[in-house]
C-alpha cells in the first residue's frame, strides 16, 4: 500500500503540475479545492481507480457496485452504463414498492381525470367550509402523487443497476425542468419523468426534446397551452431556445422567440375526452395523443422565419421541423455538452473536451450515450477521477443518495420521505425548482456555510440510524428497526482510508462511538466530492 518515498515524491510533483495547469481553467475557489487535495495521502491506484469510477458513474459507490465493476473491468463497466439494460426492474423489495404506487398502476389520462373529479366535486359544494375542506383534500391528493413520483425516483437512484441512466434521468428532468406546484402538474410528474425523460436519458436528444415538447407537463408549466394565434404567449418559446437548446448566447434574437412562439401555437393540453369543435377543413389537422392535443383552430398558419430558416406554415409538423433544426444546431451541441461535462466532470470543463463532445454530437446525430462516451473516456476524465483526487463537489441530491447508498448498500429502504425532506431543506427538492432553468451544479451554489451545516445534521441523523428510512405508515409492514449503519467495513479499510487526508483519519480514529464515526465519515471533506 505504501509507495516508496521516491515514487511518492514524483507522483506528488506531477499532481502539483497538474493543479498548476488547471488553475487557468478553474475558478479560484475550485483551484483552491484542488490544491487542498494535495493533503491526501498517495492513492492506492489499483483500488482507488475502480472506486472512483464507480463513485462517479453511479449515485455513490457501494460494495455491490464495486464487486460488479471488478468482475466486468472498467471498460466493460463504462460500456454497460452508457447502454443501460433495457430491463430496469429493481430488486424485488424495491420493485414491489414501486408496483404498489398509484402513479405506476394508472395512466396519466386516468390519473388526471380522477383528480379532476375530486376538484370539480369540491367546487360544487355549497357551503364555504365544506368547499374549503374538499379543496384541501384535492391538494393533498395531488401532493401524494408528487411524493409517489419522488419515492419512485429515489428508489431507482438507490437500487437500479442502470446507475448512469438514473443520474441522467435526474439531469434531464432538471434540464427540462417543470415545477410541481404549477396547477395540477403534480399529477403529471410521474408520467413526464417515466415516459418523456427516462427512456431517452441515454438516447437521441431529438427524441427527448420531442417527447418533452409534446408532454402536457411542459406545455402546462411553460403556458404553451395558452399560446394561440393572435393571443401569443412567449414563455415556452423563449425557454426552449435559451435553456433547452441553443443557450442564451446561442445566436437568436427576440424576433426568433416571437417566431417560435407562432410555431408553437395550438400545441396544448386537453383534459376532456372530447375533441374541440373544428371546421371541416381543419379536422384532418387535429392531433390527439392522451392529454396532448394540437388544435388547428388555435394555430397560426402563416409562414415563419426562425434563425434565418423559412418554415412553411402548415400545422403541427412545423414544430417537428423546428425541433430537428434546434437539436442538430451547433450551438445546442456545444451548450448541452458543456452542461453534461459540468455535471459529471468539473465546473469549468476544458474547451478541447467540449469540442470533442460537440463533434460526437454532430457525428452521432445527437446520441447522448455517444457524447457521454467521449466525456467519460477522455483523458481529463481519467485524470480527474482515477489518478488525482476528484474535483466535482456533490450537489445535495448526490450527497443524500450517496450517503444512503454508503449506509445501506443493497438493503432496500422503505420510506424515502426523510430523503425528500432533506433535499427540500437544502434547497434542491425533487420537482421543486420553481424556475425553468433547473438547479445549478457548481461548487459555489452548494458549499455555503448554511449548506455545510445542514449536511452535517443529515450525516448525524443518518449515521446514528435515526433517519426513519425503514419506518412506514403501513401497520402490516414488518416492525423491524435496523440498527445504525456500519460504515467502518472492509471497503473502508481496504480502499477508502488510504485516500483520506490525515485530519480526517485522525478525527475518525478519535470518534467516541460508531454512530459518531458514521457521522464524521459522511461529513468528511472527502465524502463531499465525487
Amino acid at each position: 500500500m505504501m509507495s516508496t518515498p521516491g515514487h511518492g515524491t514524483m507522483r506528488s510533483r506531477r499532481r502539483f503540475i497538474h493543479h498548476a495547469a488547471s488553475a487557468a481553467i478553474l475558478s479560484p475557489l475550485l483551484t483552491a479545492c484542488a490544491t487542498g487535495t494535495s493533503l491526501l495521502s498517495e492513492p492506492n491506484s489499483d483500488k482507488a481507480s475502480p472506486y472512483r469510477l464507480a463513485n462517479r458513474l453511479s449515485w455513490g459507490a457501494t460494495d455491490a457496485e464495486m464487486e460488479h465493476l471488478r468482475k466486468l473491468g472498467a471498460a466493460a463497466y463504462i460500456d454497460e452504463q452508457l447502454r443501460a439494460a433495457a430491463d430496469n426492474t429493481l430488486p424485488a423489495a424495491a420493485q414491489a414498492q414501486i408496483d404498489a404506487l398509484r402513479i405506476q398502476k394508472t395512466s396519466l389520462q386516468t390519473l388526471v381525470w380522477e383528480t379532476e373529479v375530486t376538484r370539480k366535486s369540491a367546487d360544487a359544494i355549497a357551503t364555504e367550509d365544506g368547499r374549503k375542506a374538499a379543496q384541501q383534500a384535492y391538494q393533498q391528493e395531488l401532493n401524494k402523487l408528487a411524493r409517489e413520483a419522488a419515492h419512485r425516483h429515489l428508489l431507482r437512484a438507490l437500487c437500479s443497476q442502470n446507475q448512469l441512466q438514473e443520474q441522467m434521468t435526474w439531469f434531464w428532468f432538471n434540464h427540462f425542468n417543470v415545477h410541481q406546484y404549477k396547477s395540477n402538474v403534480r399529477a403529471m410528474l410521474g408520467d413526464y419523468e417515466e415516459r418523456a425523460i427516462r427512456p431517452h436519458a441515454l438516447g437521441h436528444f431529438r427524441d427527448l426534446l420531442g417527447a418533452v415538447a409534446h408532454h402536457p407537463a411542459m406545455l402546462r408549466y411553460l403556458d404553451n397551452e395558452q399560446n394561440a394565434a393572435n393571443r401569443i404567449n412567449e414563455n415556452y418559446a423563449r425557454e426552449l431556445l435559451e435553456l433547452h437548446t441553443l443557450g442564451v448566447d446561442g445566436g437568436y434574437a427576440q424576433r426568433d422567440v416571437q417566431e417560435l412562439a407562432r410555431v408553437l401555437t395550438g400545441h396544448g393540453v386537453n383534459l376532456s375526452d372530447t375533441p374541440p369543435k373544428l371546421r371541416p377543413e381543419q379536422s384532418a389537422q387535429y392531433v390527439r395523443d392522451g392529454l396532448y392535443e394540437f388544435h388547428p383552430g388555435r394555430h397560426d398558419f402563416g409562414n415563419k422565419t426562425l434563425l434565418s430558416h423559412s418554415i412553411r406554415g402548415r400545422g403541427a409538423a412545423e414544430l417537428d421541423e423546428v425541433l430537428d433544426l434546434l437539436a442538430m444546431h451547433p450551438a445546442t451541441a456545444r451548450f448541452v455538452s458543456r452542461k453534461l461535462a459540468q455535471q459529471l466532470l468539473a465546473d469549468e470543463p476544458p474547451a478541447r473536451l467540449l469540442d470533442d463532445m460537440a463533434q460526437a454530437w454532430a457525428r452521432s446525430q445527437g446520441q447522448i450515450g455517444s457524447v457521454l462516451g467521449v466525456l467519460v473516456r477522455a483523458p481529463e476524465f481519467t485524470v480527474a477521477f482515477t489518478e488525482s483526487a476528484p474535483t466535482k463537489f456533490k450537489d445535495p441530491m448526490h450527497f443524500v443518495v450517496s450517503s444512503v447508498r454508503a449506509c445501506y448498500g443493497d438493503r432496500v429502504v422503505l420510506n424515502t420521505m426523510p430523503m425528500q425532506n432533506w433535499l427540500n431543506r437544502m434547497g434542491q427538492g425533487l420537482y421543486n425548482r420553481q424556475t425553468p432553468d433547473g438547479y445549478p451544479s457548481n461548487l459555489a451554489s452548494w458549499s455555503s456555510s448554511g449548506q455545510m451545516a445542514t449536511r452535517f445534521e443529515i450525516a448525524r441523523t443518518l449515521g446514528g440510524g435515526s433517519a426513519g428510512l425503514f419506518k412506514t405508515d403501513d401497520p402490516m409492514a414488518p416492525r423491524e428497526q435496523p440498527a445504525f449503519p456500519q460504515l467502518a467495513k472492509p471497503i473502508y479499510y481496504d480502499v477508502i482510508r488510504p485516500l483520506l487526508a490525515a485530519p480526517t483519519r485522525d478525527a475518525l480514529d478519535g470518534a467516541a462511538s460508531p454512530q459518531d464515526w458514521n457521522s464524521l465519515y459522511l461529513s468528511s471533506p472527502e465524502f463531499m466530492y465525487c
Binding site: S27, P28, L29, A32, C33, T35, G36, L39, D223, Q226, N227, A228, N230, R231, I232, N233, E234, N235, R238, E242, V248, Q254, R425, M426, G427, Q434, T435, D437, A444, S445, W446, S447, S448, S449, G450, Q451, M452, A453, F456, E457, R460, A501, P503, T504, D506, A507, G510, A511, A512, D516, S519, L520, S523, S524, P525, M528
Partner: protein, 402 residues
C-alpha cells in the same frame, strides 16, 4: 479559526488585510437589506400610472382602477402615480410618512429579457459588455469596502450577489436552526483544517449558534411578558412576515448587510388586478416589509435602508391570458427610517405608446448601478474610490433619497 471573514490565501495581502472584526455589532452603523423579487414582478401593477389612459387601454382586464367610492383601486401617491391597494395597511402608511419611495423606469441595460441572465447582471453589478466574473457579486464587494461589517444571506443557498472574495454566511430563517453538539463540532472543525471549506465550516457553527441564541432570547422575553411593544406581532406572523421579522432582529443586533429573495412573480397567466394572484403576493410582501420596519425598532430603522429590486418589468400590454410577458424597465422600492424623498423619485416620463421601449416595455431611465451607487454612497458614506470597487465604471446618481 474565529474570524468571521475569511480571505483566500492569494488575496490576504491586499488592502483589505486580515483584520475582519469578530462578532461585533455594527457600531451605530448603517444597514442595508436587499430584497430580490425573482421572476420579474409586474411593476405597472404596483406603481400604477394613474394619469395614463394608454395604460388602461392596453390592459383591458388587468389595469388597476382608480380608487373611488366603492371601488378598490390605486392609492394616490401624486398626480401621476398610485400604489396597489394590497399595500394599503402595510407600505402605504410608510410612504405617507416619507419612509417608502418608488423609482420607476429602473433596471439594467440588459435586453435579453431572460430571468436568469438579468438576475445575474444585477447581482454581479459589473460593467456592461465586459466578461462577467461569476465569483464577484456587488454586495460582496460592498462588504469588502466596509471592512469588518458583517454580511449575511437569509437564504438556503448563497446568492450570486454575496459571492466573492469574502466568505459570507447564509442561513434560511424560514425554520429555526438547531444548536450544534460541542464534541462533534470540534471533530468536524478539525477535519476541515486547512481545507478550502474550512472557514465556511467554522462559520456554519458560529452563525447557527448565534441565530439559535438570538431566537431563544426573544422567545424567553416574550414568554416572560417583557416583550417590547414593537415585537407584538412576532408570534402571530406567518410566511414572509415571520421571516422578515426574524431578519430584522438579527440585523438590529449584528448584521450590516442582508439579503433575502422572494419568488413567484412570473405572472404570464391570470395575474388579477386590484385583487387576485398578484395582489396576494403584494399583500404578503408588504406585510413583511412593514413587519421588518416595526421589528427592527425605531432607532435601528433610522439607520437602515431596504431596497426591493426585480430583474425586469413586464410588457405594458396584457397578453392573451390576462397576464404579462417579460419586459424591461421595473420599479425599485427604497424604504428606510431616514428617507427624505418624494414618494416617487428618479427620472420619469409619461406612459404612452410612443414612450415604450421597443414598442413593448417600460424604458430604463434610471440605471441600477448608478441608482444603487448613489444611494449606497450616501447610506454608507463611501468615497468615490470605494464606490468604484462596488460598481466599477458606474456614474453614481444621487437622486436625494436619504
Amino acid at each position: 479559526m474565529q474570524r468571521r471573514t475569511f480571505l483566500h490565501a492569494s488575496l490576504a495581502a491586499t488592502a483589505l488585510g486580515s483584520t475582519g472584526r469578530l462578532f461585533a455589532a455594527p457600531a451605530a452603523g448603517s444597514r442595508l437589506l436587499l430584497v430580490f423579487l425573482r421572476g420579474g414582478y409586474d411593476a405597472n401593477s404596483l406603481l400604477v400610472p394613474v394619469a395614463s389612459s394608454f395604460y388602461r387601454e392596453v390592459r383591458p382586464n388587468i389595469a388597476i382602477p382608480l380608487a373611488a367610492e366603492g371601488v378598490r383601486g390605486a392609492l394616490s401617491l401624486n398626480a401621476d402615480w398610485g400604489l396597489h391597494p394590497a399595500l394599503e395597511n402595510s407600505v402605504y402608511p410608510l410612504a405617507q410618512k416619507r419612509q417608502a419611495c418608488f423609482i420607476p423606469f429602473a433596471g439594467t441595460h440588459d435586453t435579453s429579457r431572460s430571468h436568469f441572465e438579468t438576475q445575474d447582471t444585477i447581482e454581479l453589478g459589473q460593467a456592461d459588455g465586459g466578461r462577467r466574473d461569476f465569483g464577484s457579486g456587488f454586495m460582496n464587494r460592498l462588504a469588502s469596502v466596509l471592512q469588518g461589517r458583517d454580511a449575511i444571506a437569509f437564504t438556503d443557498q448563497l446568492p450570486l450577489v454575496l459571492r466573492g472574495r469574502i466568505d459570507v454566511a447564509n442561513v434560511s430563517l424560514k425554520s429555526m436552526p438547531k444548536p450544534s453538539d460541542a464534541k462533534l463540532r470540534q471533530s468536524l472543525t478539525s477535519m476541515y483544517q486547512a481545507h478550502p471549506l474550512e472557514a465556511r465550516v467554522s462559520e456554519a457553527f458560529e452563525v447557527r449558534d448565534e441565530v439559535a441564541r438570538e431566537m431563544t432570547k426573544e422567545t424567553t422575553k416574550e414568554m416572560a411578558g417583557e416583550m417590547e411593544a414593537a415585537n407584538r406581532n412576532a408570534i402571530d406572523a406567518k410566511g414572509f412576515e415571520l421571516e422578515a421579522r426574524r431578519i430584522a432582529r438579527l440585523m438590529r443586533e449584528r448584521y450590516a448587510l442582508g439579503f433575502v429573495d422572494v419568488g413567484g412573480w412570473d405572472t404570464h397567466v391570470g395575474q388579477g388586478a386590484a385583487s387576485g394572484y398578484l395582489a396576494s403576493r403584494f399583500d404578503e410582501l408588504g406585510r413583511g416589509l412593514a413587519g421588518f420596519a416595526d421589528e427592527i425598532g425605531e432607532s435601528a430603522w433610522r439607520d437602515t435602508v431596504v431596497v426591493v429590486v426585480s430583474e425586469f418589468g413586464r410588457t405594458m400590454r396584457e397578453n392573451g391570458n390576462r397576464g404579462t410577458d417579460h419586459g424591461h424597465g421595473s420599479v425599485y422600492w427604497v424604504l428606510g427610517g431616514s428617507l427624505a424623498a418624494a414618494p416617487v423619485a428618479g427620472v420619469q416620463q409619461g406612459i404612452e405608446a410612443r414612450t415604450l421601449f421597443q414598442n413593448r416595455d417600460m424604458p430604463v431611465l434610471n440605471e441600477y448601478r448608478a441608482l444603487l451607487g448613489g444611494l449606497l454612497a450616501r447610506q454608507f458614506d463611501l468615497s468615490a474610490a470605494m464606490l468604484e470597487q462596488v460598481f466599477p465604471g458606474a456614474q453614481p446618481q444621487d437622486i436625494g433619497l436619504i
